[in-house]
Subunit: 577 residues, 2 copies
C-alpha cells in the first residue's frame, strides 16, 4: 500500500476504535482521531481513566465491529442538521463551529457517525490486523488550559506479517531507548530535581560531542563558513526588535530584571546575535555570501509533559548557521548546503531521508515575487542535486519558504533534523543593508540552516540508531586492554602507551577482577575492541583481540592491529551494527 | 629599589599629593591614599570636579612641597586625641572608628597631618620625579550607596629615566588597547545597547578562540582529563544547596520564575554541575583522581562601572576543571596542574609569573589539620616544581588554601589568570563520597582550577601582549595573497589552493584596488604574511613574500615558503613581537 492509502486505512481504524469505545462507554465524549506517521489515535474525554482491562474489552469490541463488516458511507449535511447530529459531543461542536463551509461531511458505519472529512475504506471488514499500543494524556487542542483527554494509540495492517514486523520493530526500539543506554554506558544524565530537560554530558558523551563538534567545525571551515561565538543572554530590547517577544514568547524563559532596569532574556535563538555582528560595520556586495556558523546553546520552555530524554529538551545546542546573500545567490548557496548536509549525515550512517519543500502560507511577509524567486531557487537546488522531495503547499514559515529533511534510522523511524529556511522578515526588521555595485544600499536575504538541528537530539538519535555501539571514529573509548592478571599489567601498560601514542582512545582495566568479569564489563560498556594480554601474548609479543558483538578475532601483533584499527577509525559513513 | 621600598616611595608621594590639594582646596575632604602595584592614588571628596587646570596647579604645588624638603615624622596618639586632630575629616573619622587598637599613628609633613600606618620616606625632598596621570571617580569603600570620590592617580621615581620609561610604557599600552585593536581588526564587538559586558566573537576572533580551545582540550585529554558539558541554568535549589544563594547572590543574575513555580538561575559557576555528575553513581577509590574539565560559560553581574572591554565582563567562559581526589593525592595533582599551567602559558608567550600562596583566613570551614595538610601539599608542590612564590598569610578563601598565578606581559603589567583552589566546603555540603579500600565511605577533596581564568580576559591580554600581531599558530588569517592586477588572479588562486591544501588559513584579495592599497589593508589587518604575485612571479613560478612589521623578505618558491611557514606555525611560545 502507498503512504496515502495507509493513512486512509489507519483513519478508518481510528473510527472503529471510537465506535467500540462509544458502544462500551456511551458517556465518553469524542475528541479527534487522525492517522499519524505510523498508525492512528483517538482522543476521548471521560472521568475515569481507561484501565488495561478496558483496553482488552475495547480490542474485543473492535474485532466484533470488523467481523460485522459494516459498510462505511459518506453523508453531507448543512450546518444546522450537523449540529443536531452531534448535539451531545461538545468537542465536535467546537470543531463544527470552526468550519467555514456551509455543508459538512460525516462518515457512518452501523450506529456510529462521526464528523469527518474522510476519505475512508468502504467497510470495517477491510481492517485486518490491528493492535492498541498505549494510552497517554493530552490537552484538548494541545492547550493545557483545556480539558485533559485520554489518547489511545493503535496500529493496523492488511497483513499479519506487517503487524508482527512492526511490533518487533517497536520492541527493538524500546531496547535501544537512549534514555536507558545513555546513562547505563556513562554518556549523559538528566536531573529532574534541578531542572527537567537540561542535559549533563558525562565524560564519554562529552568525548562523542567533541568528536561531532570538531568534525562539524572542520567541514564548515573547509566549506567557506566562519565561526562565531555569541552570548546566551541579551537585553529584551533585542528580542523586541527581532519580533521574538511578540511571536515566540510562550517558548521563552521569563526575563531577568537587573538593577539598571534592563530585562535580560535567555536566548531561544541565535539569529539576532548574528545580525548584530553583521551590522557592526558597513558590508559590501563583495563580501557576500557571508556564511556564519555557531554551535549556539539555546533555551526554550517546552512543556514538562512533552520532554523526552535527549529528543525533546529545554536547553539544546543548535548547529546553527546563517548565510547572508543576494536573491540571485540563494540557489547556489542552497545547493552547497544540501551537499554539506548529505556529506555530514552520511558520515554518521544516515543515508535515507525524506525531503519536504514547504511553500508560501496564507499569512506571510515579503512580496509574492520574492517568495516565488526564493521558492524557485529552493526547487532548482533540490532538482540539480537530484533530491527526491515532496511539496507541502502552504506549509512554509511566515517569513519564507523552507526545506526540511527527515533522516530514517535503522528501525525505519523518521527524525526531523535538517532545516534550510529563507527569511525575508528579519533582514527587513533589522534594516540590514549592503552596498551594491552601483554604490547603493540593498537588502540581503538571510538563510537560516541547521544540519543536526540540535546536538542533544542528534546524539539521542545516534545512540538509538547504533544501539550504543558507535562506529570506531565516534567511540569515546575505542580499545580496552584487559591483563589476565596483575602479572601482565606491565605488558598491558606497554600496549596501552603504544596505542595512546597512535592517538587511540584507550583504557586499561587494572582491577583485580577475573578475566570473564572484565570482559563482561567491557562488553556492557560497548567498547568496540578488547585486547586481552596474558602469558602467551607477552611471550609472543602480541595480543588477543575481541570485537564487540563479534567475539574473538584472533591474535595480532600490535603493529598489525594498529593498522587495521586506523583504517576503521578513518572510515565514516558506517552502517548500523 | 626593591618592591617594598617603591611602595613606601609611592605612599609618600600620595601624601604630597594630598597636602597639595589641601593647601589649594582646603574644603576638600580626604579619603584614602595608598601605593598600588605601580604608583599611587588619593581619593578626594569635593563638590566641583577637578579640572585639567586644577591638576596643573596641584602638580606645581607638589613640586613646591618637594622643594621645601619637609621632614616627615611619625606621631602616636590615643583615639581621643586622634579624633580631635581629624574632626573635620568625616571619612578619616570613619576609618578611625574601625581601628581596634588604643593608639593610632599619624604622619606629619609641614602643616599636613594624616592618619596613617606608614612607613614613609624621611622627607618630602626624597621624591624626585613624579607625574599625575588621571582622575576617575570611585565610591567610598567601593559601595555605590556611598558618596562618590574623585581619585587622582600618579606615579613617581627616584630617577628621571625611570619616569620616562614608565610613561613611554603606558603610552604604548594605550596604543595596544584591546578595545581599539579588537574591533578594528575584526576580532570582537561589544553591544552596550543590548547588554554591556557581553562579548560577540567575530570570525577572526572566533578562529583564535577555536585554536585556543582546541589546544586546551588536546593537552587536557593528554594529561588525563575528561571533558564535560553542562547546562547554563539550573533550578535555584541547586544554588541553595551549593551555598551560592547565601554567599554569592550579589554577583548572580536574578532568577527566572517559570510556570511550575521553579526558579531558574543562570550559572555563575560550573562546580555544582560537576558535582551532580560525580553523584550520578557510587564512586570507588580506584577511579580517583577524577579530573573533569569544561569550557563553561558563566554569567556574573559585575557593576556597570567596573566593566572594561574583555578584561572585566558580565559573561565569560572559564577554562574550568575540578579534580576529585584524596588528601594524599593533592600534592601530586597540584604538581601536575602546575606543570600544565606553565606549558600552557608559555605556549602563548608568557614566561614570567608572580605566584602567590594564600593560607588559612580567620573565617574558615574544615578542620585545622586538613588545612595544614592541604597547605603543606600546595607548598611542597610549589617547591618541588621549583616555583618562586610569595605567601599571602590569611588570604585563602574560606573553603581552602589556594595558589594564584599572575602573568607578566610584555609591558611589564601583571594579570591574574591561573587559580588553583583546594575546597573542603563543597564536598561536605553535597555530602560527596567514595568507597575506599576498606569498603567504607570517605569524603573526597575537590580542587578547582583554571589556567586562563576566563577565555575572554585571556584573549584581551593576548591582544595587548602581542599588540594584535599574533604568532603564526594563532593568527586567524596567516597568509593573504595579493595579485598585482586582475591578470594574475588566476595564478593567485592557484597559490591560494596550494596553501589551503596545506591547511594554512589563507585569503586572497581579489578587489580592483592598487597594490599599495592592498598592502596597506593587509598591514592594517595585521596579517603575518603577504604573498605578492605579478607577471614576474607567474613567469618564474614563485611569489614575493612580505612579512608584517618586517617588510619584503624576498622571492620564494611555494614549496620553500610552505616549509618555512610550517615550521613557524608549529612553534608555540613565541615571544612578543
Amino acid at each position: 500500500m502507498k503512504k496515502e492509502e495507509m493513512k486512509t486505512y489507519w483513519h478508518t481504524s481510528s473510527h472503529i476504535l471510537a465506535q467500540a469505545v462509544k458502544r462500551l462507554y456511551p458517556e465518553t465524549e469524542l475528541g479527534i482521531g487522525p492517522a499519524i506517521e505510523e498508525g492512528f489515535y483517538y482522543d476521548f474525554y471521560r472521568e475515569e481513566p481507561f484501565t488495561p482491562q478496558d483496553i482488552e474489552k475495547i480490542t474485543a469490541e473492535m474485532e466484533k465491529i470488523i467481523n460485522e463488516n459494516l459498510p462505511i458511507e459518506r453523508l453531507e449535511y448543512d450546518k444546522k442538521q450537523a449540529e443536531e447530529i452531534i448535539k451531545n459531543e461538545s468537542f465536535k461542536l467546537e470543531i463544527l463551529k470552526e468550519i467555514p463551509d456551509e455543508k459538512v461531511s460525516f462518515y457512518r458505519q452501523g450506529g456510529f457517525i462521526d464528523l469527518c472529512k474522510g476519505p475512508h475504506q468502504t467497510s470495517t471488514g477491510e481492517i485486518k490486523f490491528f493492535k492498541l499500543l498505549s494510552i497517554s494524556s493530552s490537552y484538548w487542542k494541545g492547550n493545557e488550559k483545556n480539558p485533559s483527554m485520554q489518547r489511545i494509540y493503535g496500529i493496523s495492517f492488511p497483513r499479519k506479517k506487517e503487524l508482527e514486523e512492526y511490533l518487533k520493530r517497536i520492541e527493538e526500539a524500546k531496547l535501544r531507548d537512549h534514555r536507558i543506554i545513555g546513562p547505563k554506558t556513562g554518556l549523559f544524565s538528566l536531573h529532574q530535581e534541578f531542572g527537567p530537560g537540561l542535559v549533563f554530558w558525562h565524560p564519554k558523551g562529552a568525548m562523542i560531542r567533541k568528536i561531532i563538534e570538531d568534525f562539524w567545525k572542520e567541514i564548515h571551515i573547509e566549506n567557506g563558513y566562519d565561526l562565531l561565538y555569541t552570548p546566551h543572554i541579551a537585553s529584551i530590547k533585542l528580542w523586541e526588535k527581532s519580533g521574538h517577544v511578540e511571536f515566540y514568547k510562550e517558548n521563552m524563559y521569563p526575563p531577568m530584571e537587573i538593577d539598571e532596569k534592563i530585562l535580560y532574556q535567555l536566548k531561544p535563538m541565535n539569529c539576532p546575535f548574528h545580525i548584530l555582528v553583521y551590522q557592526d560595520r558597513v558590508r559590501s556586495y563583495r563580501e557576500l555570501p557571508l556564511r556564519w556558523a555557531e554551535l549556539g546553546t539555546v533555551y526554550r520552555l517546552e512543556k514538562i509533559g512533552v520532554l523526552h530524554g535527549l529528543l525533546r529538551v529545554r536547553g539544546f545546542t543548535q548547529d546553527d548557521a546563517h548565510v547572508f546573500c543576494r536573491t540571485e545567490q540563494i540557489e547556489d548557496e542552497v545547493m552547497k548546503i544540501l551537499g554539506l548536509v548529505v556529506f555530514f549525515l552520511e558520515s554518521f550512517g544516515f543515508d535515507q531521508y525524506e525531503v519536504f519543500l514547504s511553500t508560501r502560507p496564507k499569512k506571510f511577509v515579503g512580496s509574492v515575487e520574492n517568495w516565488e524567486k526564493a521558492t524557485d531557487a529552493l526547487t532548482n537546488a533540490l532538482k540539480k542535486k537530484e533530491f527526491q522531495y515532496q511539496v507541502d503547499p502552504g506549509e512554509g514559515v511566515f517569513y519564507g519558504p523552507k526545506i526540511d529533511i527527515k533522516v530514517r534510522d535503522c528501525l525505519n523511524r523518521l527524525w526531523q533534523c535538517t532545516t534550510i529556511q529563507v527569511d525575508f522578515n528579519i533582514p527587513e526588521r533589522f534594516n540590514l543593508k549592503f552596498v551594491n555595485e552601483k554604490n547603493e544600499f540593498e537588502q540581503p536575504i538571510m538563510i537560516h540552516r541547521a544540519i543536526m538541528g540540535s546536538l542533544e537530539r542528534f546524539f539521542g538519535i545516534l545512540i538509538e540508531h547504533y544501539n550504543g555501539n558507535f562506529p570506531l571514529w565516534i567511540s569515546p573509548v575505542q580499545v580496552k586492554i584487559l591483563p589476565i592478571s596483575e602479572k601482565f599489567l606491565e605488558y598491558g601498560e606497554k600496549i596501552f602507551k603504544m596505542m595512546q601514542k597512535e592517538k587511540f582512545r584507550v583504557q586499561i582495566d587494572a582491577s583485580q577482577e577475573k578475566l570473564n568479569k572484565k570482559i563482561k564489563i567491557a562488553e556492557e560498556e560497548k567498547i568496540p575492541y578488547i585486547f586481552i594480554v596474558g602469558e602467551k601474548e607477552e611471550r609472543e609479543n602480541n595480543i588477543a583481540v575481541r570485537k564487540h558483538g563479534k567475539g574473538m578475532l584472533g591474535t595480532f601483533t600490535v603493529e598489525d592491529i594498529i593498522k587495521i584499527l586506523k583504517e576503521e577509525a578513518n572510515t565514516k559513513n558506517t552502517k548500523w551494527l
